[in-house]
């Protein structure tokens, strides 16, 4: 088992490649790995409560993927309510994940 950290900085609703990011996260988790999807910059837009993409993120969480959002990116965009299962995080947590909490970092 490996620990994957996937950082998404793009708006998942704007880039079609985002679907592959979600699929990769889900399949890596299904394969027995530990996966954290860290949303930052425009990536946090997908986590807005009530959005279609937010429902997809909730499904990922239910599959075992940890989905977190950068607090500064959220507050800059007025996003304070998240899809079910998505939790708030910060840049300190991201640094901790890189230093001690992951084996592989993918930045999209």
């Amino acid at each position: 088992m490996a620990r994957y950290l996937i950082v998404d900085s793009r708006d998942l609703t704007e880039y079609s490649g985002a679907r592959f990011i979600q699929r990769a996260a889900g399949q890596l988790q299904s394969a027995g790995n530990e996966v954290t999807l860290f949303l930052i910059e425009n990536g946090v837009i997908a986590a807005r409560k009530g959005s279609d993409m937010g429902a997809d993120l909730t499904a990922l969480v239910q599959g075992g993927v940890r989905v977190v959002v950068d607090d500064v990116s959220c507050s800059a965009r007025g996003i304070f309510q998240f899809a079910d299962g998505v939790t708030s995080s910060n840049i300190d947590h991201l640094a901790d994940l890189i230093v001690e909490g992951s084996d592989k970092v993918l930045w999209y």
Partner: protein, 170 residues
Amino acid sequence: MDGGSAAASEIKEYNVSTMTMPVSPISTVAAAPARVRKVAIVLATGSYQREAPTTVLRLVEKLLQRGVDVNVWAFEEAVTLTNRDQIDHNEPGSLQKLLGEKHPNVGRFIDQLVRAGLHGAKLDWVSCILCVQERGVEKHQMGGAIIGTLGDLWKFVKSADRVIGIPTYR
């Protein structure tokens, strides 16, 4: 010709749908790997393009605080981040109470982080020589920035515990 036919027969036909992707050694990493000591970040986004440089600076600060050495390889438009001739313009008068009088350029923050490395974990900020020349900023790089080559990037990647490539997109 026979020779041509023979050569052609040696060319393997690849079917993408049945190709086996190389498996990264990462899939066999033990549960508790060694703590990361050095991170390489590859950045191609320049000033006032996207949020990536700000995010990188936020992250670099936190990594340095954790005692992690950071090497940033800046190329393409990212070499303009360390242009020492960037000017702090005034913020709009109505917003100065909120934002401050001047709009600070990102190079100032890079300079602060490089200086922070004097007494702790170290940040090296290297600007690609080809990219600075192409953009006419070779003679305008701020003091803390080092102009380097792809050889430096290779050594950064080789020596890093983690390599983070920040994608550029439009």
